[in-house]
Amino acid sequence: MNLAIIVLIVLFSISSFFFARTKVKKIAISNQTKLNALPDYYGFYLSLWCALPALLILIVWTIFEPSIIKAFIFQGISGENAQTYNNSELNLIYQQIKSFHFGYFTGTITEEIIRGAESYKSFLSIAQGSKIVLLATIIIFTTLYALKKILNNNKAREDVEKIFKGLLFVCSLVAILTTIGIIFALLFESIKFFSVINIFDFLFGTSWSPQRAFVRDASTITAEEYADLKNAFGTVPLFAGTAFIALIAMIVAVPIGLFSGIYMAEYANTKVRKYSKPIIEILAGIPTVVYGFFAALTVGPFFREIGEKFGLEVSSESALAAGLVMGVMIIPYISSLSDDVINAVPQSLRDGSYAIGATKSETIKRVVFPAALPGIVGSVLLAVSRAIGETMIVVMAAGLAANLTLNPLESTTTITTQIVMILVGDQEFDSPKTQSAFALGLTLFFATLVLNYIALRVVKKYREKYE
């Protein structure tokens, strides 16, 4: 339905473009006046006025329609029944009514649901009708307004450019809106979570087992139950696991990435560079789910077999396998960034070093590397932030149980794994378990934000130094 309306509006606005253009030309010829802008701009002016306000109203309407209908339905349910429902029960009934209306309801059909579906249908048609009437009036008024302006020979180009610049500005605001959306989504659920669980118990508790948390009504928790809950949501094992796997990844990625970056920047001739750089960058283009599959299917079992040969007990979901594969994934980020950074070091520094008799490797170790160090540190920090935010590899190859261990052969779990495990499949709304995933997301978001911010500042400062 909305699609049809949008198509109609767009068609109307396109035709109004041609209408305005010819109209203005005719008037200019018949009145022997000079137009203030090219005829096209009058066309743009009319079609923009025709489409933009209507589309804007349509978007706002579409966003708010479901929640308004929902409120009406809620009123209907609570109004006609003597018994009172709490919020989640109302939500459930609303979902049932909706699915009944669309014809994929499975379950016992009650009188209430049938009546609800009827009123849902009538609300929908009322909303539909009033939407079309509203949009039609708006289009008529705005078109008439713009037409009058055009006929008065306004400065169409300036007006069109103003609207256009406004449109550009609004588009660039989407980034800010996304950030606000992320913070809002994470904070909203996290605040609910932290009203049940103390934030310090969350951050410093050492036992994580959210499947034990089945308390639904947060207001009636006794001290005893809280002690139990506290033990379900201690995130220290998750932080430790995340940091541990990221550390293993860094141990793999930093030396390999750094040495390949140095080799590519300082030693490789153009031919080697031309072929090896894109091949290494393939590693960055492979989807992480592929690495996850690779880690779970090949690397994990391989380590377990080797371990068996030496009489070691290696978990097939070991931190080592996940970290190693993650390290491979991160190599290109470090190598290409450090390659860039090393290339940015001025040649004069190298020439000075060669002039006093240093070999190439001495120059690199003692002159180029220290000069490039801030940039390299920045690139490593970016890589760390990528490692702790990486999801699929650890979901598929690392374990689920929250062990507080430093043995790379045992299985550990990470923040991202737990978020996925909690939110995959059916969730109960308003339970601390579901909310804890958002709290974890919030911590992850802030951790990566801080790392990225520092890294970008360091890299930027470094660039400015040599430019």
Partner: protein, 420 residues
């Protein structure tokens, strides 16, 4: 240590250092080769399907059909008994247990396969025809050599009797390999031999189209604004910081955004390409804006000044001259951003795309999977047949990514103007 020795030591250090670099690059390249090799060697066999030639007598009386039945009539007919009878004629069985084992050599949907064969070849009514029927996953894997047959019986999924049947059929030349069209046309299934990526291909297609429609115009407009029109002030700085940070936010956070805002607040339908597309476009937006800005920046100021000098307005100079020149770079940046979005899994899992969907989605608001999510789903399955299916899905996904990246590189090299 005299001078010569010192010099030799320094030269050795030099060689060592160079060697480390070479080893690192070789290691990285070896990883690529190893990874691709593992995937390809495991996934290759999924493009073939094992079938067994079975003689079927399409007797209209037995099927309770009229002698020149229409397609609709055949659709409604029950082929189960006919199918069972034809299969049991293949090998002599004694007792219900052996009968059951013989039937389990075949995929459970054998009656539907026979029906579809008849619908495609209507003139075979009342004839004895050889039909190639899909084998079960275990026989399929055995025939492809992925299944060890020398284990003791209790550790095998195939019984000794089934092995006997299989060997006999191989001797009679009845076991064939055909190109596995099921893999591309079928939706998901619990039986590996019937499971296909048809549904997830469509899911991925819808998702990427929605991502493209939403992110491409917004990204271009935003980068034109920031590069050409934005005044140097706090708001502009704030927008830029936001974009740079968003580009590095982990993808799973965008999944939480989709779950909390799109599904929670706006009540959009779960598990659908629509929500996936919106989530992914928010994620790709900053990743497209950054290369778009770079390609706008690469257009030399002389172009803008030339346009302004002959009386164009600022908007005209940008839209008529700068933007057209930046299009190759912009497009290639967009394609690379979309390729990343195509391989993204974590946010899609959070918005519920992991549901088991058999039907192929017809619109973006039908529940569906996507290619990377299908990889994740199948990799969790225990059956041996899903390993090759997963690898083959990865091969399909990777070939899409390779094509997209090649187009991006081609666009940039062919059409981008070098300013010097």
């Amino acid at each position: 240590m005299n001078k010569d020795q010192l010099l030799k030591k320094r030269y050795r250090a030099e060689k060592r250092f160079k060697f480390y670099g070479l080893v690192s690059i070789t290691l990285a390249i070896l990883f690529v080769i190893f990874l691709v090799n593992v995937i390809f060697s495991k996934g290759r066999t999924a493009f073939q399907r094992t079938t067994i030639a079975v003689e079927v007598n399409f007797n209209t009386e037995e099927l309770e059909l009229s002698s020149n039945a229409s397609i609709e009539e055949i659709q409604d007919a029950d082929f189960y008994d006919l199918s069972i009878n034809s299969l049991l004629k293949l090998y002599k069985t004694e007792g219900a247990k052996q009968e059951k084992e013989l039937l389990r050599v075949f995929s459970p949907d054998h009656d539907i396969e026979i029906k579809n064969f008849l619908i495609k070849n209507l003139d075979n009514l009342n004839k004895n025809v050889i039909v190639n029927l899909t084998t079960s996953d275990d026989i399929d894997q055995l025939h492809k050599g992925n299944y060890p047959r020398h284990l003791p019986e209790e550790r095998r999924r195939i019984s000794d009797f089934q092995l006997l049947i299989y060997d006999q059929l191989v001797k009679e030349n009845k076991v064939n390999k055909v190109f596995n069209t099921f893999f591309f046309t079928n939706g998901d299934s619990r039986n590996p031999e019937l499971a296909g990526i048809g549904g997830s291909l469509f899911g991925s297609f819808f998702t990427i189209i929605i991502t493209l429609i939403l992110s491409f115009p917004i990204a271009i407009f935003a980068s034109i604004y920031l590069e050409e029109f934005a005044p140097k002030n706090r708001i502009t700085d704030f927008i830029e910081i936001n974009i740079n940070n968003l580009a590095a936010v982990p993808s799973i956070v965008f999944g939480l955004l989709g779950l909390g805002i799109l599904l929670g607040t706006f009540d959009l339908p779960r598990s659908t390409p629509l929500v996936a597309g919106i989530t992914l476009s928010l994620m790709t937006l900053p990743r497209i804006i950054i290369p778009c800005r770079a390609s706008l920046k690469a257009v030399p100021p002389s172009i803008r000044e030339g346009a302004l000098a002959v009386g164009a307005s600022k908007v005209q100079s940008v839209m008529h001259h700068v933007v057209p020149l930046s299009i190759p770079g912009t497009l290639s940046g967009t394609i690379i951003g979309l390729a990343q979005a195509l391989g993204e899994t974590a946010p899609l899992i959070l918005i519920g795309m992991v549901a088991f969907v058999v039907d192929i989605p017809a619109t973006p608001i039908d529940p569906s999977a996507s290619l990377p999510v299908q990889v994740y789903l199948w990799s969790e399955q225990a059956e041996r047949g899903f390993v090759e299916k997963t690898s083959a899905t990865i091969m399909v996904l990777l070939s899409f990514l390779i094509v997209m990246n090649f187009i991006a590189v081609y666009l940039r090299q062919k059409f981008e103007k070098k300013w010097s």
